[in-house]
Amino acid sequence: MNLINICLTALLTENVVLTKFLGICPFIGTSKKRSNAIYMGISVMLVVTLSSIITWCLYKYLLVPTETEYLKTVLFILVIASLVQLLEILLKKYLNKIHQVLGLYLPLITTNCAVLGIVLLNITNNYSFVEMLVYSISSSLGFTFVIYLFSSMREKIDKNDIPASFKGHPIALLTAAIMALLFARYL
């Protein structure tokens, strides 16, 4: 029951983008097209899951025993950065087709604060390994879900006749605000 609870809250009511306001940059930047949004989402899911596993193990088995928990932020940033670079090389070498699709978005993930946010929340919430895995996957799935939903709306909004002063980012930010109210259960 606890795992379902973690999964649903991470996916909907405590969505990483719309309630914690992490990863706003790719949320606005790569949501003009649905295809871009879905590729960004897949890349984030891949990196978040892998980096969560590595950082959780490093924290539990290295930082806690040596009482150097204060190093977690620096260590996690470096783990994410090196993981993204490594993934890019591996995808380029072995899965070139996927690299051609995701290649543009992978380096952007290094600076995506949603990744670092999820990784740090795993530690702050003191999750067990399974809980951490469920939380990471569902949070990144929540990110993908929201960015896909937002890009679908933006594609439709762009085709509509809206006042010139609202075109582009203003209407996108208003849409995001209404979505955030819905996800936080204010509407």
Partner: protein
């Protein structure tokens, strides 16, 4: 034992630098954000 996390940070930093240097774009790919920014700056 306390030195291990510090060593790991240095090693990870070196790995990140090495890998990012290996992945470095020659500003000619027409695809990545870096290339587009580079072209904008050159204009």
């Amino acid at each position: 034992m306390i030195i291990v996390p510090f060593l790991l940070i240095i090693v990870l930093f070196a790995i990140t630098l090495y890998l990012s240097n290996k992945n470095k774009c020659d500003h000619n790919c027409d695809k990545c954000m870096g290339c587009n920014l580079y072209k904008e700056m050159k204009k």
